[in-house]
């Protein structure tokens, strides 16, 4: 049943998000075109600056908008009227939530990648300069590979964690009459609880670590490889929080669903 749920969740999100990619691509091409004209004709320099500014805002907004859309879909699909259908399907709550988590995470990551891709299109056009690609390759070789892997994993888990924490807030909020207000309140509470627990665990570890001062003074990218231990620790902590909030969401929607 999970694969069927995924099919519909991916379809539903793509109907909303793909048009955003299309508009962003057109804007990237327009930006590139106007910038090229501005290089040749002075009269285009003001519109070029204006369009470039809008383009940068849109690039930043793509992943943020995707994140907001995935949360709205979760709320509409499971807590509002569509919930009457979704919660009466013969599927487990675990499948419902897992499908939402996987599809949302995939789209948020895709939006990050698309933003970077559109940035290249806006700056370099459709044909990339090969020297740019070799520069990126060289940069990646110089940086500690464990560090890169941990950064990628940390980004991934942070996207999933933020999703699931908001799911848990909505699950707790839907038990009350004013579902939106209580979801926001629970969101603030869970965020602060996470921060406090993380600090309580991380601070003593930092004090006990004699190399801590060295990390603070790290200046070059290779020095940052020293931080790998901390990244791994933070990563494991994030995984634990994510699993905790995921279980909370499933349990609350299973035992305390309140579609009034």
């Amino acid at each position: 049943m999970l694969s069927k749920l995924l099919k519909y969740d991916f379809k539903s999100l793509s109907k909303t998000i793909f048009p955003i990619y299309l508009v962003s691509l057109l804007l990237a091409l327009l930006t590139r075109g106007v910038n090229m004209l501005a290089d040749k004709f002075n009269v285009f320099s003001i519109p070029s600056g204006f369009i470039s500014a809008i383009f940068v805002i849109v690039l930043i907004a793509i992943p943020i908008m995707t994140f907001v859309f995935t949360i709205l879909k979760f709320y509409q699909n499971l807590i509002k009227d569509e919930g009457y259908l979704m919660h009466t399907l013969p599927v487990s709550k675990h499948s419902l939530i897992l499908s939402k988590t996987i599809s949302s995470t995939a789209f948020i990551l895709l939006s990050f990648i698309m933003s970077i891709l559109f940035l290249f299109v806006g700056v370099y056009g459709i044909w990339f300069d090969s020297s740019l690609l070799s520069f990126i390759g060289k940069l990646l070789k110089e940086v500690n590979s464990v560090f890169i892997l941990l950064i990628i994993l940390s980004t991934l888990i942070s996207v999933i964690f933020n999703q699931v924490m908001i799911y848990a807030s909505i699950a707790l909020g839907q038990k009350h009459n004013n579902k939106i207000m209580y979801s926001i309140i629970y969101g603030v509470v869970l965020y602060n609880v996470t921060q406090i627990i993380s600090l309580v665990i991380l601070i003593p570890v930092m004090f006990l670590d004699s190399n801590y001062q060295q990390y603070i003074n790290a200046t070059t990218i290779s020095d940052f490889a020293l931080i790998n231990g901390y990244l791994l620790f933070a990563f494991i902590l994030s995984v634990l929080f994510t699993v905790g909030y995921y279980i909370l969401t499933v349990k609350v929607l299973d035992k305390k669903l309140n579609l009034e």
Partner: protein
């Protein structure tokens, strides 16, 4: 055999007691009318059977088990609101029901929709409220379920379509299945009811065979309802 059993079931919303120690049995092969004024607890009972609300105390059993995946396989539920994803086409909705319900009869759904002049290519968001309700009813009645629960199935449609909808309900439910219909429009549905349940202020005030009521009280169920719940 009992299909649904309410055992001493109560439901509170905050300090308000919406259902008060309900004891009720729904048997196989009967059409039940769940009738009561606004706020009497009809929809709350229906939501509890469908696992959309949890009881505060007491128990509900469907085929001897608590509501869950197994009960959802045998219950076909029509809520009082539109629960469809408006970005879907009718054909996508048919596929959705086919994907999730093993007992969904695609042929029957297409046939019923064609009779209502609804095409598979029609977009749900472009339909009127009444047409959306008809599409929902067709989907729900195209399942071969053991229990159909219809909350206000004719509330949003014009009187001319009501007879067609009632006919659709009657001719499309399985032999041996049961139906629970909740409505205010009693005169429209009373002829199809086998058993009548009156609920008021969270309590079952009457649970009797429809023919027995007519014989004993020498009146229609609609008139009896109006007398019982006179303001």
């Amino acid at each position: 055999m009992e299909l649904v059993e309410f055992k001493n079931l109560s439901k509170n919303f905050g300090s308000k007691e919406v259902l008060k120690k309900i004891n009720l049995t729904i048997e196989k092969g009967k059409i039940y009318g769940l009738l009561g004024p606004n706020g009497s607890g009809k929809t709350t009972m229906i939501k509890i059977i469908n696992d959309l609300l949890q009881p505060t105390s007491g128990e509900i059993l469907i085929n001897g088990c608590e509501p869950g995946i197994e009960s959802k396989k045998i219950i076909s539920f029509l809520p009082e609101r539109t629960y469809l994803n408006m970005n879907m086409k009718v054909s996508e909705l048919i596929q959705f029901f086919k994907d999730f319900y093993e007992d969904f009869d695609e042929k029957k759904a297409v046939q019923l929709l064609h009779k209502l002049k609804i095409k598979e290519t029609d977009q749900l968001k472009n339909m009127s409220k009444g047409t959306k309700e008809k599409v929902q009813l067709v989907m729900v009645m195209s399942r071969k379920a053991d229990l159909y629960i219809l909350d206000e199935p004719i509330g949003g449609v014009d009187p001319a379509s009501r007879d067609y909808i009632l006919e659709t309900i009657l001719t499309n439910f399985n032999d041996g299945s049961s139906i629970i219909i909740s409505t205010h429009l009693i005169s429209d549905i009373e002829k199809i009811l086998d058993q009548v349940i009156f609920i008021n202020q969270g309590k079952i005030v009457l649970n009797e065979d429809a023919d027995t009521i007519r014989k004993k009280k020498k009146t229609t169920i609609d008139k009896l309802f109006r007398e019982e719940f006179k303001c």
